[in-house]
Every structure is written in C-alpha cells, then in structure tokens.
C-alpha cells in the first residue's frame, strides 16, 4: 500500500551570523493515500515548497520523519509502529517524481530522450524505454514531437514533457512545484484538464503546490491551506470539484456553482487574514 506519512515534521533554519533562527515548518502532519491529489495553498513564505522539498528528500527535517510505504524518506524514527525500520533514509529517489515550474529539462536531449532519461539512468534497455516514453508522451499529447528540441518548445509543451518524464519513471507519487505558474491563462487551463486526466488514468498520488485559489479548488481531492511564520498547516478540506470538472469538462461551469464560490470565499478569507497579519 502506497501511503505517504508526514509525522510531526519541523524544519528550523539556523539564523546566519547570530541572527534569529527561522522556523520554516512547524509540527506538520499529513497523510496521503494512493489516488490522492493533495494541493498545498498559502501565502508566500508559508512553507509549501519546504514541504515539497522534504517529501522529495532534498532537505531533511529538524524534527519528525516522513515515510513512503515501508521506507523512510527522511528523519530518524528508528522504530515505527513497534517495528524497527532503522534510520537508513532513501533521500531523493525514483519513487517520487518531481516537476518544477521551469528550467528542469535537459536542453542537450530532445523530447523523447528527456522523457526516457530516468529509465536510461536505471539502465533500462533502449527499445523498452523508448516504448514507455512514447506511451507517456502520447498521454500528454506530444506524440508528434519526439525529435523536437526542448528549448524550441512553448512553455506549456515544456511542462508537458516534464510531466511525461516524471511519469515514465513510474513513481509512486508525483510532486509538482507550481508547474503551471509560468504559463499564460489559456495554456494553464488546458494543462489543468490534462493533469486531471493523467491523474485519473494513472491513479498516482500527487502533491501539487499553487498560488492560485481557483486552480487549487478545481484540482484537489484534499486541499491543504498553510500559513506563514511559522509555516504550518492550518486547514484541510476534502473536495470533489475535480470530479465535477472531469464530468462536465467545463471549468467555468464548475467555478460558477454556489459551492465553489462559497469555498473560494472561505479559503480567500483565510489567506487574506494571514496576509493582513503579516503585512
């Protein structure tokens, strides 16, 4: 069973040159199951990216631990549920694919070479990895762009390559750090739909970071609202707007339902409260 558990995690950055230490995350608990699409939303400085970096294994917690399935990602639990799992951490690994906002493709490789890169690193046979990469490029609608150079693609296409590349590795979960943040509004909407399609077809766990309340509400099965200083999770909502969206294929219709509008007001007032408090 693929379950991600974030247990009592705090991240404290020591202050530089005798300055005060900064608590980036404070006592964060989060559980994700197979097929969850968790969206983290919050004002800047609330620790969204810190949380993603923790799950990816790019940083380690000052306190607490994270587990994915049976293995320890980061932290020092030694004993978990009465079972000794040691403190051998996996760090960043192939079971958690990452998609960044931009600049993460390798420009010396073409589209299909970028997509198969993870399998190549693991020494998978060329014909096998080509086939797998082609399959996921088809899933993101890039089946005619195999030989294109990635730096000549539009921003939206580059992100689609990034998503296909992460999926080709067949990770247990996908971590998306504002993947649509640098795109124009129209491309962004079409990629939201594409991402939901991919999510439903592959049934992956996804952890998605965004600044946009509408995007968060539209995509999430579980919405995590975070607050800054110290970064923490203040609210969690279970949502099903993405199911409505997948049924009717009309984002505007979903966004104009009374439930959506009420939810947006609620979330916005939480975030605005934070901003007023820290301004």
């Amino acid at each position: 069973m693929n379950t991600l558990k974030v247990c009592e995690v705090s991240v404290i950055y020591p202050g530089s040159e005798g300055g005060e230490s900064v608590t980036a995350l404070s006592d964060v608990n989060l559980t994700m199951k197979q097929g969850d699409l968790v969206v983290a939303l919050g004002a800047s400085g609330c620790g969204k990216t810190t949380l993603l970096n923790l799950i990816a294994g790019f940083i380690s917690p000052s306190k607490g631990y994270l587990t994915l399935g049976e293995s320890l990602v980061e932290g020092y639990p030694r004993v978990l549920c009465g079972k000794d799992i040691g403190d051998e951490v996996t760090g960043p690994d192939a079971d958690r694919g990452v998609v960044f906002q931009k600049h993460a493709l390798l420009p010396w490789l073409n589209v299909i070479e970028n997509t198969e890169f993870g399998l190549k690193l693991q020494g998978v046979d060329k014909t096998v990895r080509r086939e797998r990469a082609a399959e996921y490029l088809k899933l993101v609608g890039l089946e005619e762009f195999h030989q294109h150079k990635v730096y000549q693609l539009s921003g939206g296409m580059q992100q689609r390559v990034g998503i296909a590349r992460a999926l080709t590795n067949d990770p247990k979960m996908l971590l998306l750090d504002e993947p649509l943040g640098a795109l124009d509004a129209l491309t962004r909407e079409s990629l939201q739909e594409l991402l939901l399609d991919v999510w439903r077809k592959t049934n992956k766990m996804m952890f998605f970071i965004t600044h946009s309340v509408d995007e968060a509400l539209l995509l999430a099965t579980k919405l995590v609202v975070m607050s800054p200083r110290p970064g923490r999770i203040t609210h969690q909502f279970d949502l099903n707007f993405n199911q409505q969206f997948l049924d009717c294929r009309d984002a505007r219709q979903v966004k104009s339902t009374p439930e959506f509008i009420a939810m947006r007001e609620q979330v916005l007032s939480i975030i605005h409260g934070d901003e007023l408090a820290t301004a």
Binding site: A56, A104, G118
Partner: protein, 315 residues
Amino acid sequence: MSNSKKMTLDITEAEPQRVDTKEERATTKASESFVDKLKHKCRSLAAPNAVPSGEYFGTPGAGDSRLISIVSAFLFIAIWAIATEGGFIKPIFLPSPFDVVERLIDITVDGFAGGTLFEHLNASLIRIFGAFFLACLIGIPLGITIGCNRIFRGIFDPLIEFYRPLPPLAYLPLIIIWLGIDESSKITLIFLAMLSPIVLSARSGVTSVRIEQIQVAYSMGATPWQVITQVIARGSMPDIMNGMRIAIGFGWTTLVAAEMVAAERGIGFMVLNASEFLVTDVVIAGIIVIGIIAYCFDMLMRYLERKLIPWKGCN
C-alpha cells in the same frame, strides 16, 4: 510596408507646400531636390523608427555588417599599399603588402631561418595543440571536480588562484631549470598558460547548471556519479567551450615566449629571428599567418558551439 517608406512619402508631400509661388519653386527645384534627398538619406540613417522588417526596434547595433567589414579590410590594405609604395614609410619599418606576399611565397618555397614556413608552422602547431589537448584532458575534469567537491576545491583553489595571474615569462626560467630546453619545457609552458582558463571555466560551468536539473535527476534515481557525468558535465559545456577559446588565445601569446629559448623551428621563432635581422617583411608575414590560423580555429570553435551547444542563449 516599412516605416521609413511611409515617412519619406509624408515628407515629399509636405515639402512643396512650404514653397510660396510656382516660379520660386521652379528655380530652386533642382538644387532643392538634391538637398532633400540628402536630408532624407541622413534622416533615415539616424531615424529611430526606421526599423527594417525582421528586426526589433531599439536593438543596439542591429543589421548585417559583413559588407562593411570587407570594404574596411580592403581599405586598410589600400592605405597600407599607398603609404609604402608611395615611399612615405621606409620598407625597413613597414614593407609594402606586395613585398610581404612575395616574401610569404618565398619562405613557403625556400624557407627562412633553417626551415620552410610549413616546417615552422608544423612545429608550432604541434606545441600549441599538444598543450591544448593536454590542458583540456586535465583541465576539464579537474574544473568539474573542483566545482563538485569541497575537498578538491579547498586543495586546488589557492594553487590555481596563485599561479593564474603570473605571466608565463616569469616562470619560464624555472621550467627550463626543471625540464631543460627541449620540447617538453615549451609544451609545459603553453600547457600551464592554457590550464587555468579551462579549469576556471569548467568550474564556473558547474555552478551555472540549474539546481532543478540536478534535483530532477536525483529524483529519477540518478547516482551522484550519473549526475556529474550526465547532467553537470553536459550542462557546463557552454562555459567550457568559452574557456577553450580563451585558452587558445593565451596559447598563441605564450608560444612566442616559449620559442624565445633554444628553438630551431616554430613560427614564433621565425618571427623573432627575422626581427633580430630586421627582416620586417618576414615578421609581418609571420604575424599574418598566426592571425589567419587563430581566426580559423575560432571559426571552428564557433561551428562546434552551434553543433554541440545549440541551446546556448535559449531557455
């Protein structure tokens, strides 16, 4: 339609209205039209809105300059020819271009200072490119290792930073004491001059690789070695190629110094030898040959850049 054309039309239409009477206009027509044309020409040269199609407004130095370069080169040679053939400058200071070409053929066929031009050139090219090959072979991996590893950085940073600004002539005597006066000391001197730009460029290339690219590779299951060889080494290529171009420039500078001591062949030796006997046309011929070869190599490097790192400057 381009803006400049539009502007020209506007002005020619507006201009006659200023002239009061028909007679006046007729008498001044010929001279005025010439002056007007000149004015238009000047305006369109300086006009900020005269943007040729396919170019952006405000790009500094936009446009093709190849024709101007060719004309300027010919003009330079013409002035040189007039100044020398006209007897304004003595041949011992500056021989005419025709003498230089004649001498160039002469040293290619009959030779100068104990060897033909190709023998001299061959000796120098082996030194330069031998040293260049060694400097790349050692400098690129060393620079990448320094960039990736704290311990290597700690060890090599002070050494390289210390010897980098030293002029090669300053440590030439030491190298001769250690290695003698044969080929190995010459190649070592050129090698040392080339090593630091290559190491430093490879090192800065490592830092120019985006952290996202490295992190994504790790989260696709890459080992640290795979990250270094398949992400960092490839990603630092643009900087490394820049460093290689700078290094070869240093190499030519150092070549002449290396061939000052106990050389029997070499293009630098040939030029030095000629200058001792005031054979100015050989000096100039040698300089031209060095210039042409250095330019050709630079062209080759630019071609390789377009082939190997076509993404340079893109995002």
